[in-house]
Symmetry: C2
């Protein structure tokens, strides 16, 4: 079983190995009779092609690499569901690389991108500018790359992408808070170098400006896209002399930490402080209170990104046209936002 090769099958069926190969890969090029004979021999020997040899010969691995900040975030898990579904349908396996957890240096990111031979790369994570350079210099030459969940950075402008309009969505979230009467609105963003977060911050600032609301220093703090980061950030926010009456968190994961800290400070959500998130992860609905947030069509994003990648792989490498597909977002109103108390 472990080591029956195409030769054994050929011998047993009384044909050449070329014919066996054809039976498997181009059955229409073979007589019905031989096809049956070979099939029998395959069954009898328990043969299955050595995928290593196939990959080598064909020059493709049927492996794609997905780079994302953290698979732990339920949002990315959901996107990956879509990626996986589409990948499986096309016969690809996927390898996931996290950038956040192992806080890689740019060189390491570059090395990672080229080290493991894959047929394509999906970027769901912002690269630092230098990381982007590494990518565009080295990896782009070898395999197609598609971006998902966030806009593409200027250095990679020719890559296709699929994402919501993060700026508009953040504006919608902020405007919703404003519409409820809030004037002092804080924001917890991710981290400095995150495009995702950058866009959401942009949207927030735009909405505040459009509403002519003041924007104090110390009202916009980083939360590292993590629970602990958000808890820290929330404590900062609550210390402000003019404490915000509402907080916009750049993702739901952080909103969970934020809400916890607000309550730990003896304040009520939403009576004292309203909280709004982003992503609509599956926990949003069972939080206490249930989280008002922006939902994204996660599975759809994943599938579309994967399908676009497949198309590029099939077309041969070829530079992308940088075409970016915007998918719709949605404000999901639950219970974590109320009118301001003060």
């Amino acid at each position: 079983m472990p080591d029956v090769s195409i030769k054994e099958v050929a011998k047993l069926a009384g044909v050449s190995i070329a014919t066996v190969s054809r039976c498997i890969n181009n059955p229409e090029k073979v007589t019905e009779k031989t096809r049956l004979r070979v099939r029998e021999a395959i069954v009898e020997t328990g043969y299955s092609p050595n995928t290593l040899a196939q990959s080598f010969r064909r020059g493709r691995t049927n492996l794609i690499m997905v780079v994302l900040p953290s698979i732990g975030d339920p949002f990315f898990t959901a996107v990956m569901r879509g990626v996986r579904t589409a990948a499986k349908a096309k016969g690809y396996s996927v390898i996931i690389e996290e950038t956040q957890h192992n806080t890689m240096t740019d060189d390491e990111i570059g090395a990672m991108l080229v080290s493991r031979q894959t047929d394509g790369i999906i970027l769901l994570a912002t690269m630092s500018p230098f990381g982007s350079e590494v990518l565009s210099a080295k990896s782009r030459r070898r395999v197609p790359v598609v971006v998902g969940c966030e806009k593409v950075s200027p250095e990679l402008a020719d890559l296709p992408s699929v994402h919501v309009d993060n700026v508009a969505a953040a504006r919608d979230a902020t405007n919703y808070l404003i519409s409820q009467g809030h004037k002092r609105i804080g924001m917890i963003y991710g981290q400095e170098s995150s495009l995702l977060t950058e866009d959401r911050e942009l949207g927030y600032r735009a909405a505040m400006k459009a509403a002519k609301l003041p924007l104090k220093d110390g009202w916009v703090v980083p939360g590292q896209l993590s629970i602990s980061g958000a808890r820290q950030a929330t404590r900062e926010l609550l210390k402000q002399p003019d404490r915000p009456t509402a907080i916009f968190c750049a993702n739901d994961e952080m909103a969970m930490g934020c809400m916890h800290e607000v309550k730990a400070a003896g304040l009520g959500v939403p009576e004292d402080v309203s909280v709004i998130g982003f992503d609509d992860i599956r926990y949003a609905e069972v939080m206490d209170p249930p989280l008002t947030t922006i939902s994204q069509p996660t599975e759809e994003i994943g599938e579309r990104v994967m399908n676009r990648l497949c198309r590029r792989i099939e077309e041969g490498r070829g530079d992308g046209n940088g075409d970016s597909q915007i998918v719709p977002h949605d404000l999901v109103v639950r219970k974590s936002v109320g009118k301001p108390s003060g």
Copy 2:
């Protein structure tokens, strides 16, 4: 760049391809002088070995497959962190296959296990009995398999494994509830065919029996390891004439759904119903109230499973001795368990 092979390097360095190969893989077998000359040629040409050819030639992929119920569960995400860390250290990439999401048939599981050539398999998911058979029949012959997070099923008894003592841990959880004065204790387990869940149910039943507490029908309900399943289960539990004063959830994910439903029913946690979970996922601490639960050394489990797999890969296939390593669990007391009200 995309297509410089070992030949070009050899020509440029004025040596044979064998020597180039040696410089890369066994530098000590080569003179310092040639080594330097070759290194230069490698840099100049921008050569990097074709991993497809290497894999093929060496007969190994440096790829391992992890089978788990759902990557969405933060518990498994945490275990995977350990797996990844250890894998990276040894030069392996990992492919994840989820059984729960795509509710695969046994045949599909079998096909999946053999389809993609990997150097080894880590099972973090229970296979149905038939799935196990497929596995032991087909796949075991080809590559080493190691089990993590749960005991190994009888059919696979010779596989090594790393996990907590789920029975003992569940007993500890239940005993803690009992020690707080609870007598009517319900349980939400996962699903019928889950060993993980089975053991936790066993521990619960053992503790109840030891304490001579009654165990009504309808107090032990399945929650499918999901939030929605747990919500449904909780509603059932709350409908019971003798409503339990405490609920033991077989994992934290379900505890989140459970707690939400208890509160949605207008009851207080823990004033009216105490809730205890299992896993100590990162959200446990920020739940409202913070969840009392059993913690597992997730990262350690992941690393150890991966390391054991590596050892087996290095040793050649060889049947396992079925040795199972038990890692310690811990009761983490927070606020979701109180004294019974009635």
